[in-house]
Amino acid sequence: MRRVGLALATALLAAWSLAPVAWQLLTAVKPDAQITRTPTVYLPDPPTSRHVTALLARKPMAVYLANSLAVSAVATTLAVGVAALAAAALSRSAAASRDRALLGLLLLALFPPILLLFPLYEGVRALGWVNHLPGLALPYAALNLPLAVWILESGFRQIPRELDEAARLDGLGWLARLARVQAPLAAPSLVTAAILVFIFCWNEFMLALTFMTRDSHKTVTAGIASIGGASIYEIPWGQLSAAVLLATAPLVLLVLVFERRIAGGLTRGAVKG
């Protein structure tokens, strides 16, 4: 009985989550006339590749994707790298000061990013980084730092203290301990943090739209926003859907590849319990 309930709930949740994706997929291959017709046409008849070809002809989707990849990768590396340093220190600090620092980070994370938009824009412009990669990568890394620190800190804290002490006695400095002992043991946390940060960077729209004005530097979210029709009364639903699918596919692949690492065990065999 409980099993059936669980299966049903899982199916419902999956349907709820996947329905919009399925709708996008269907729209991307539906002839224009059928997209807006009432009553709704669910299955395209016949499926068409017109939207995809039209999209690729009009917009440099490959460039958008490459920009997104570059910005997200740099931001993720920065955020996770800096967060690892912070988390390694925090996980070995006294409980009271550690909790204060983590709470402070949480408050920072709760600060609405839209309030940062104009100060950030002024900063990015003053540095001459409008339409340059660091203009997005640095703010992304900073905005995601609290999340990454939280995830990594809890991962590092699970590493038995004796391992750290053994490494100290083995003559490893703090950086060597982080690289050779803590990071490998907290690999699942590192992967989790990296994926979450990467997804956030990939999906980010507001800063991308504001800081990247040239088509050659737009990330994929800003790029999709620039897809318009011949007139303001026409919305190219088919092309938009195709673009959204193209933008989503890399993320899905990423998560599928690393899924096992995320679920992987933590510190088996470290110390005898």
Partner: protein
């Protein structure tokens, strides 16, 4: 090689808990000094202070004549064996052993040779490519030991290294450790709460209780001349019989039992007297100096039987050879085997044989 000395080491934890109070000790070069005591007595804290994992609140450490407490943890050159082994779970046995050498920038060939030598010495040569998770408890223990040995440090620190092994393995590892320490001529600080381990491994034992040194002596002396009541009852198994009584007219009055008190400093108004179970003389028939004893409990230990007897109103435990027994026996408490302690402080009182009774 130099002696390691600790002078008046005290440790107070941030919460206010006192772990060590004015502990002084000397670990002689090439010898094994065991820190023995019940759990919570501060012995592990002392070991961690020597390793540099904790800082003493006050007191000094010296290696030879040079101060040792200012040396950074990573440069103290100590081999440490953790109670729970603390092997790097993501590294192979080989890498577990070699990490410390590589971190110190030793040449690759030398590192490999040392790892091989150590692995062979400990009989783990065939396990070098395995991960700690794939090893049995005994094998993990050897790897942990190997990680300390491979660097050939000037000081070995072992924190209850055998406590996670089962009884059989513990005993064979104990003998093996003793041989190993002798072979390496190693200076060793060995923490344990197991007195059998302390007795068999040590050149000297530092017995701690509640952060204070109770006695520091070779194992045999610890057993034969315990410095106070605590040492007397902590060392020796089964534990020493002890009774508290009032002293009057050269005799100690116990419940239904009177013992002659030797002259000299032992003549105090209140006295503790102790007698080890193995020192009690028990026979089936009356003999000189013996008292009647009723058997309350007999616990066979294999080679001997531990009897709980009632002599007068006091309970007395005695180790006797196995064999047929009746309910009634005769027991003698040999006066020369009695240990006397002050009724208040518990300090040992030695009768002076020169003063005639």
């Amino acid at each position: 090689m130099d002696d390691l000395r600790g002078e008046a080491i005290s440790k107070v934890f941030p919460g206010g808990a006192r772990a060590l109070e004015q502990v002084s000790f000397r670990a002689r070069a090439g010898q094994v000094l065991t820190l023995l005591g019940p759990s919570g007595c501060g012995k592990s804290t002392l070991l961690r202070i020597v390793a540099g994992l904790e800082e003493a609140t006050s007191g000094r450490l010296f290696l030879g004549e040079r101060p040792f407490d200012g040396v950074p943890t990573g440069q103290r050159d100590v081999g440490f064996v953790f109670q729970n082994y603390a092997l790097y779970p993501h590294l192979s046995v080989e890498d577990n052993l070699s990490l410390g050498l590589r971190a110190r920038g030793r040449p690759r060939a030398e590192t490999a040779a040392r790892v091989r030598r150590t692995a062979e010495l400990l009989g783990i040569g065939a396990l070098l490519q395995r991960r700690p998770g794939q090893l049995s408890g005994g094998q993990q223990q050897r790897v942990a030991l190997g990680r300390a040995l491979v660097r050939e440090p000037r000081l070995y620190l072992l924190d209850e290294p055998l406590s996670n092994l089962d009884a059989l393995l513990r005993e064979s590892m104990r003998s093996e450790l003793k041989l190993l320490f002798r072979r390496l001529n190693a200076t060793v600080l060995y923490v344990t709460h197991d007195q059998a381990e302390a007795m068999s491994l040590s050149d000297e034992v530092l017995l701690l209780d509640d952060g204070r040194v109770r006695q520091c002596a070779p194992p045999q002396e610890l057993y034969a001349r315990p410095a106070d009541l605590f040492v007397a009852t902590f060392v020796g198994s089964p534990r020493m019989n002890t009774w508290l009584g009032e002293c009057a007219e050269g005799g100690l009055q116990l419940r239904g039992l009177r013992l002659d008190v030797p002259a000299g400093p032992t003549r105090r108004p209140r006295l503790w007297v102790g007698l080890r179970p193995e020192d009690v003389e028990v026979r089936p028939t009356p003999f000189e100096g013996a008292r009647e004893a009723l058997v309350e409990l007999a616990e066979p230990l294999g080679d001997r039987v531990l009897l709980t007897l009632r002599v007068g109103g006091e309970s007395l435990r005695a180790l006797t050879p196995p064999g047929a027994r009746s309910e009634r026996l005769w027991a003698r408490l040999p006066p020369e085997r009695l240990h006397w302690f002050d009724g208040q402080s518990g300090a040992r009182l030695d009768p002076r044989p020169t003063q005639a009774v």
